[in-house]
Amino acid sequence: MSTPATRERESTEVDAGDAKPRSPHQDRRLQEKATRAEQSQRESEERAAEHENTVEIKVFRYDPEVEEKQEPRFDTFHVPFEKGMTVLDAVMYARDHYDSSLTFRHSCRQAICGSDAFFINGRQRLGCQTQIAELDTPVRIEPLPHQEVVKDLVVDMDSFYEQMEAVEPYFQTNELPEDELAEQRQTRENREKIKMGTRCIWCASCMSSCNIAAGDDQYLGPAPISMAYRFAMDEREGEDMKEHRLRIIEQEHGVWRCQTQFSCTNVCPKDIPLTEHIQELKREAVKKNLKFW
């Protein structure tokens, strides 16, 4: 079996917390920072009074390294509203105009990179895919629940990536055509069958919404199982490999943990029928007489 890719993150002297004593200089900076934060809060409120059309957002703040942010809190920002504005636009505005330390992941702005999944008004959504106009205000923006918070809206994704990699998320077959210019054949029907499973953007919304995953950190979870489905059902891999894959998802913390609560399916920004995939894998396993937990 091959080894999963390693994500190297070695320990460092500037670790979170008090590992490295702060310099007097940094202390002074922190104080100034606090004063500035208050000031920008005031300015933002003043702006709100001036602008008719602003939207109020409440953003979760936490930084293990900064004294005033060690105790989690919410900051309120008033952002000028424009038609078509998304939640991501609003937090970017707040960062660029009020507080440059406001931290979140984002990149594509078009629901394909999967990096800005937040907990918005009590639900997992992509910031860039969510129109402000469709939300109740003030809009509450929090990091994904059930994941460790690194800072502000940024959560630690390592355990999610590990679960993804645990299902061997890569194509494996022993039967490639001999001619290097010849492709394998795949029927249109088979491609349709795996299509939704191939759309996953690794945003972890489903994992964060799943009660079972929250209580059992070894549970493979919806996205990884759906990833396994995408490969197990791909006719190009062959029957032996399918059985190997079914065995992975059959293990104690695999498909049988799922209690069909549909929360994953409800939040998935790519409309992947996760629960259905999990159910179908359960049926396949029964057919193949695999171990039943």
């Binding site: 993150r9 940094q26 394909i112 129109q131």
Partner: protein, 620 residues
């Protein structure tokens, strides 16, 4: 210090393919990337990959189409390599499990695309890039290749020598975004830059926020020229508030463009009386902006793209994705209203100068993908030609960096007997400003020359150590500075002037104005500081360093555009409305020597393996 044989910077299609290739040659490879690989911008590509796979098609036809599409500014050896290697590389993806769309017989499907004489675009729904990126990442996971994700590379470790061609790249310096730790990375064999496009130079772009031109700017400061930077492709249909791309497929299916008065302007105002909405990208983009400039734009900003008449059934069948994009990103329901669209920056044809093995003039330094200019796109890229570039040249650079002999390259990098020194009348000396941090303006990024002169060649480790020290100094400086200006303000200013003055329409005065503004931003950058005091996930720090790269990239684009007094491909100049082959069948190059940008030219190579491509007029 971390140490590997080959270091790949960036994990989009180009970086991942390079890493896999180097690994297959037996090298110990690591990928260092500021985003987790699956977050890379390659995931956003929609249309497809060009490859001559079928009977009736040939790599020669693909090469001919590409040369013509480039408006004769592509180098034939690079184009022929692209077209010859693309079929095998595309099938390789299929063999790695990529879910391509299929024909009835189970083979991968191909479709027609603009500028191609054969339907040779292989695709996976309207999400080709997503599937390509994920398939490659899966192969990286399978091979256990090390990935340092969310590590931001800030500097190349290049040895010191007055002559850039004698410099060597021994590694990189990067910081761990999550912890703030700054570290040196030593590359025993080579460093491959695959950092993607520079779209953030403009304020309206289809490119991701992470596309900040880091690779070209770092290479440039280490002595490697940037090539053909003036050629920027603008896509005519992007959503006004975000720049999200509305695929050409909408016009292909019969979508219509209207101005504010409800006129079908492509016909009624005579921009393209034959092909109308289906004229080539640059023609449509110019038409739209003319409408807006002449007061017939909607809200003075955009035009309307209407697909309602196609009917709900057809829209949902073929353009479902577009409904989602317009709804999610613009709050517009394409079934009941027309969609607002305007041109947006889309692709950079230019980049780091390389040969067809991906190598730059600094030994041990490679570049591939959108950050590089091996010169396959010339002055205009055909849709579907960027993805094959990633896999073809990614694989070649990876192999070469791992030590495999690919034969001598025909394209020559650096100065040769054919080099011509360029002169251009600039209003200011754009690059001559020091940027606050002491070492940034050193000849190479490796630190000061040794006191005893060039006779002592420093140990590679020492070169990396010195780069690390210099980088620590720069970061500490940015973090410790108490007040000044913040990057967001500068970024906005730079993006605005670029969009106003270096856009689809370019005038001499506009370009000069942009240079003045860039110079001003560069000066202000000396006073930049990072407000966030925390080392944990400090995006403020990262963006501040990116800002420096945006300045250098913007300057190169503008300077190239000012120098090129002709109209070719995507580069339109008001004063010069014609292609001037007698003067301009050559590439522009910009080198950073001792802190002063130098402009020079080298001829285009029109001689292919067994034929020469004769420039013909490209009619619209």
């Amino acid at each position: 210090m971390h140490e590997h044989d080959v270091l790949v910077v960036g994990a989009g299609g180009a970086g991942l393919r390079a890493a896999i290739a180097a690994h297959e040659e037996g090298a110990d490879v690591a990928i260092v990337t500021k985003l987790h690989p699956v977050r890379s911008h390659t995931g956003a590509a929609e249309g497809g990959i060009n490859a001559a796979l079928r009977e009736g098609d040939s790599w020669e036809d693909h090469a001919y189409d590409t040369m013509k599409g480039s408006d004769y500014l592509g180098d034939a050896p690079a184009i022929e390599t692209l077209c010859k290697d693309s079929p095998e590389e595309t099938i390789q993806l299929e063999n790695w499990g990529m879910p391509f769309s299929r024909e009835d017989d189970g083979r991968v499907s191909q479709r027609p695309f603009g500028g191609l004489s054969f339907p040779r675009t292989t695709y996976a729904g309207a999400e080709t890039g997503h599937h390509l990126l994920h398939t490659l990442y899966q192969q990286v996971v399978k091979r256990g290749i090390a990935v340092y994700d969310e590590w931001y590379v800030t500097r190349l470790a290049v040895s010191e020598d007055p002559d850039p061609e004698k410099r060597e790249c021994h590694g990189i310096v990067a910081f761990d975004v999550q912890t703030g730790e700054v570290a040196g990375f030593r590359a025993r064999n080579g460093v491959v830059l695959a950092t993607g496009g520079p779209g953030q130079v403009f304020d309206h772009t289809t490119n991701a926020v992470s596309c900040t031109g880091d690779g070209p700017a770092m290479a440039y400061r280490a002595g490697v020229p940037m090539e053909d930077m003036e050629f920027i492709q603008f896509h005519p249909t992007t959503l006004p508030s975000t720049g999200v791309l509305i695929s050409e497929g909408v016009r292909g299916e019969g979508g219509i463009l209207y101005n504010e008065k409800g006129e079908r302007f492509m016909f009624e105002h005579g921009y393209a009386s034959n092909s109308g909405e289906l004229a080539s990208r640059d023609v449509v983009a110019r038409a739209e902006l003319t409408e807006v400039n002449e007061g017939r734009g909607v809200d003075d900003e955009y035009v309307h793209l209407d697909m309602r008449h196609l009917g709900e059934e057809r829209i949902i069948d073929r353009l479902e994705n577009i409904l989602h994009l317009a709804g999610d990103f613009e709050g517009v329901d394409g079934l009941v209203e027309p969609m607002p669209v305007k041109p947006g920056q889309h692709y950079a044809m230019g980049g780091i100068e390389t040969d067809e093995n991906g190598e730059t003039l600094v030994s041990g330094l490679y570049a591939v993908g959108e950050c590089a200019c091996v010169s396959v796109h010339g002055s205009n890229r055909l849709g579907g030609n960027a993805l094959p570039e990633l896999i073809v040249f990614g694989a070649r650079a990876g192999r070469h960096a791992a030590g495999t002999d690919l034969g001598e390259a025909i394209i020559r990098t650096g100065r040769t007997e054919d080099t011509e020194i360029g002169e251009v009348d600039t209003p200011v000396a754009p690059g001559a400003i020091h940027a606050g941090d002491t070492d940034d303006d050193a000849v190479a990024d490796g630190g000061e020359p040794r006191a005893d002169g060039a006779s002592v060649v420093p140990e590679p480790d020492e070169v990396v150590e010195r780069a690390l020290t210099a980088e620590n100094r720069r970061i500490d400086h940015l973090m410790e500075k108490d007040e000044g200006i913040q990057q967001a303000e500068l970024r906005e200013k730079l993006q605005k002037t670029m969009t106003r003055n270096v856009n689809v329409f370019r005038t001499e005065e506009g370009l000069k104005q942009a240079l003045r503004d860039i110079r001003e931003v560069r000066e202000q950058y000396q006073d930049v500081y990072v407000d966030d005091p925390s080392r944990t996930f400090n995006t403020d720090l990262q963006q501040t360093i990116e800002m420096r790269n945006l300045i250098d990239t913007a300057e190169a684009i503008t300077l190239g555009a000012l120098a090129r007094d002709e109209f070719r491909g995507a580069h339109w100049r008001q004063e010069y409305q014609e292609r001037r082959d007698e003067k301009w069948l050559k590439h522009t190059l910009l080198s950073w020597n001792d802190g002063t940008p130098e402009l020079w030219f080298k001829p285009v190579i029109l001689e292919g393996e067994d034929k020469t491509y004769e420039p013909k007029i490209r009619s619209y």
